[in-house]
């Protein structure tokens, strides 16, 4: 597997990739509480992991993975401790500078790969402003949206990703098992929370996560397994690669 991480490549290698008009994946994660059994970096790690696998799977299409943004919008997890959060204007400024830099480095096709549900609406809104500001169409997906089919097929207690749930725990067991506190998975159970609009209440109110999920978990991690995780990671990456190969930009 060819190296596809921007920060593992040299500048001449990146210039060559720009010359070939490679796609740039920009993972955006979060550093936030994920229950007692998962490390706080889960969203960051998984967005980067899926992006790297997708970049490899899209070969021979040239794809490079920019250094993941490790921070996102996590105000609702602040009461748990261990959480870093950005304001919306800061995330805007950061993404503006990064996408502008990528364009100045000679690339023209940028896809933000989100890894945190709490970022989704903000990134959707920001992509519009970034596109207007930069005059270049910045695209956006969340790896769990790209892979929603494999997620629905693989998981047994949930149809889509929740938080520190069967899905995220499975992927953590597949990608970085040494960071999972398996002895604490037994207690990693919480309410089922849907990210999909049609199931949600028509009224949105900012609530802190501890009010709805005291253990910091939404879903049921007890049925997680590394096998499911590997299937999810590969499936999401494959789905993302298919989108890239099919073509996103005009």
């Amino acid at each position: 597997m060819t190296e596809n991480r921007w920060n593992h490549l040299t500048a001449p290698q990146l210039r060559e990739l720009a010359r070939r008009d490679a796609v740039v994946l920009l993972p955006v994660g979060s550093t936030e509480q994920h229950g007692a059994h998962l490390p706080t970096g889960v969203d960051d790690f998984l967005a980067a992991e899926v992006s790297r696998r997708a970049a490899a799977a899209a070969a021979p299409l040239p794809v490079v993975v920019a250094p993941a943004v490790p921070y996102g919008l996590a105000e609702h997890h602040m009461p748990f401790g261990g959480t870093l959060t950005l304001s919306l204007p800061t995330l805007h400024a950061l993404l503006r500078d990064l996408t502008r830099s990528i364009l100045r480095a000679g690339f023209s096709r940028i896809l933000i790969v989100n890894g945190h549900g709490g970022n989704a609406t903000a990134l959707h809104a920001l992509v519009n402003d970034l596109t207007a500001e930069l005059g270049s169409p910045i695209a956006l997906t969340s790896y769990f949206t790209a892979g929603r089919k494999v997620i629905a097929e693989t998981l047994t207690t949930q149809a889509q990703l929740m938080h520190a749930c069967e899905g995220e725990t499975s992927m953590a067991l597949a990608a970085f098992p040494e960071l999972v506190r398996t002895d604490l998975i037994e207690g990693a159970v919480g309410p089922s929370i849907s990210l999909q609009a049609e199931d949600a209440s028509p009224v949105y109110r900012s609530v802190t996560f501890d009010q709805i999920a005291p253990a910091g978990v939404a879903g049921d991690a007890r049925t997680a397994s590394a096998e499911k995780g590997e299937r999810l990671l590969e499936g999401c990456a494959r789905a993302l690669a298919d989108l890239l190969v099919a073509g996103i930009w005009p």
Copy 2:
């Protein structure tokens, strides 16, 4: 029907409403192209209309309707002309000042009532920052999300609101028929566009509306009628009133 519009009331009347801890609805619309048959103020007018009806329907719960924000995020409609758009930071600043003013006027329960699909994700993201900045939970809905059931039941060519479509045209015919160019409805047909996540492409890219709907219309306005419109307006208002009466804030 008691007057419930903030700008139609006097300051002493508003002080009394604040003393009673009235709910404040803050409609947010848009001024943007709506095909050749609808006026550019549709989203603004409908958000305000539903809000006023909902406020009346919620009686005896005290509800007041703040002056609607006539502008939203409409960059994607700019190529058509006739469109006003705000940047995300400007919308943020405007809503911050308005919600802060409402809180300073003695109210504590604010519900933003969105009337424009293009505002939805941005408002979702902004509500989180506003809640943190103001230390008071600002709630959010879109009138067409609150009323999604009546919309699905009433319309024949679509299951949810699109743009200058059967739904919006019907409501316009009910609420401000003198502003509808009925002679041009015959040509008001365009592609079907879903606002719901599960139908949408997993990749989002900012595209101008003319690229997907040259006539500025998504959906089919030819089956619109004032009767359907009245049913939609009342149904959305009723649904919104029910939410208010059931209670949104802790």
Copy 3:
């Protein structure tokens, strides 16, 4: 009378107006306390009303009236309740986005029509920055400055507009009598406050309005009448139309 309200017109109609290089009037009002007898929307309503009449009176010169900005600088009225206020940077951002949108919609001649004394100096200052930022000369007037002659001739207890006074109450009685609490006009009396530089103290200090006018009124509303109001509205509109016809831009 031809429709001249931007939000009542369709996008194709606005494109045609832009093609004819129509003047765009952008009313800027305020939502703020106006004593116990007038609604809080007075400044917003009157700026829009005079603008619409002026647009009609200027025919055949093509003129369109953009959706009025309902909010202004009203910090000094906050102690009364019922008041919404913007900070200066927010008003700047809002006007920048609106005027830029109007220019992008193909128009080149924009006149801000102010309706609130408290906005006057700020708008004067902002117009300079907007002109430099946009590279297009944004013009400014206040309807009560354009119509200062008819105001002086019509009113009996004051020579210029004050606040919730003989003048504003008269115009409210002419334009939206159903919103005037005529039973409370008897108490609508307050100190006389001049907006003109030569009469004012040479030192300006930001004071809240309740410190100088406990009833929220400056002037004497008891002599107000709908007849005077109609004369004021027509006179101000006529004066504004004359300015437009005489030509404002190079």
Copy 4:
């Protein structure tokens, strides 16, 4: 005459003045073209000069003069060269930091003394925001507004200050004659421009000064004299001192 310049005093002396609740005058000038006969620093120099004289004249009331802000809003003079201009947001930020510093240094009574007509409306607007932001009432005057009576009585070709005119040239001849190119005064004639609202056009449009005054002069400098200048400086200072002694703050 006791030293009253902030930057000529030591920190212990300023602490003592703060303990006595001394008034702080904050002159705000401009660095901009003033015709061929006057230096670009005129507005800065005169605001500071009048402030220092006023501080002395107000004795025994303790008054200290902060370092003058040498820059203002002078976009309209940019075509002449030799001109420095700030944007409104920059002036806002600068005054916010300076007034906050003065408050933190223990003072509570701040009067901005403006020396440039082009700053007047902006400062008026900014003082409102500064007062709200700092929670302390910042006061404002222009030295030529404070001294409007002596100006009207002293000058023969104009009733109020214009630009590089009889008044400014006279004060320059009194305060810094070595910087006046007296050989060029003969050509220092331009149109008469009023700063007073009642004479001005009811429509304001940002025009560059060269369009109305090709020589960079408004008024007639040929009748200027050092004697008049001294009378103006003393009169303005005396008027300002009287205001201070009479009391500005509650």
Copy 5:
């Protein structure tokens, strides 16, 4: 060696560390060209590597390493491609949000560990504003300043770190040899550039790095070795640990 990486720890573990008032190291790197032989992530990787080693070496003092900021100020490297750069306001906003989050998570002692010479002066300036804004003293070091003694003793062709030089190449060979293009080290030679004030020109002017070092290298990488690199990493980490143990905060 105990895990000390924030994003590898769970929220409960981080809460416990906060309870013990652990020091938080916040590495700030850069993603920028480093010649043809080193990956663009060098500064990011080394700041994080030294921080992790220092945290371990400081035991039993509790120390946790926050997720490294992968981006810095690298405008001067933009002409080479492969480089991401932030503006100063964006870096300010990002560090403000991160340090505020760390404080809100219960920690009180934050040390920014810089890994990029181009960030040094900006971070020095920002730390002052952050301290004032947050009311908590944020400390700052660069790992190569903390370890300047071991650097001077270890390197043979330079007395301090330069760019893609003997020092950085040696550390790269020790910490991530698989990412070093050893076949290209032969050409990795450039001018000697001092970071120390006393050697530098007294005039600073922003120049792009390609103007002074066409190969993107300052110093001589040919004498680099993994042994030197290991000595540098351990030495810098030891020096940093000693500073932590000696105590930085009051």
Copy 6:
């Protein structure tokens, strides 16, 4: 000696200097406590004084001195009173507007001449952003860096400038002796503080100056003399002039 102060010159004279591509020196000082014996304006006065002397010494090279920025970053001196401080964003905005104005006035070569140690790192960082924002290379020096050789040779108790020290007091005695409280010099002694990186602690933490120097003095002012001061001023100016003549810009 020809006049070289921007604000003492007329616009036509400045246009002529711009035509000759004169260098513009922009002094940046500070208004801050300087012990009990020196006025708070020292840094401002000395930056301007050295700049003016350097401009004269560089003849026939055309050099003009812009009005000095009297304010800088002095948060660390705030506890002493008598101090004005700007935030970093405000200093950024101010310098952006001033340098942009100077470029618009026709000049292309700008050298910021810093006079306050506390500004040094911030100005270094800002110059990078200003250069990128304006597309024109803004240069930077501190007068005491340009003149470090003469400073080291002249002073007896210190090798470089400190604060209210032998050096600054000597220059004050030479340039504005009437503002020096010579009766208080006896107590003007404080710790020795180095500005040079190699002597400083490798960890920087924002501390208020009163914590390290209760008298507000770093160094020993008792050995100051006007003779030393004159030698320093001339030496620094000469060194700065030599740099200008040798050429700074490409």
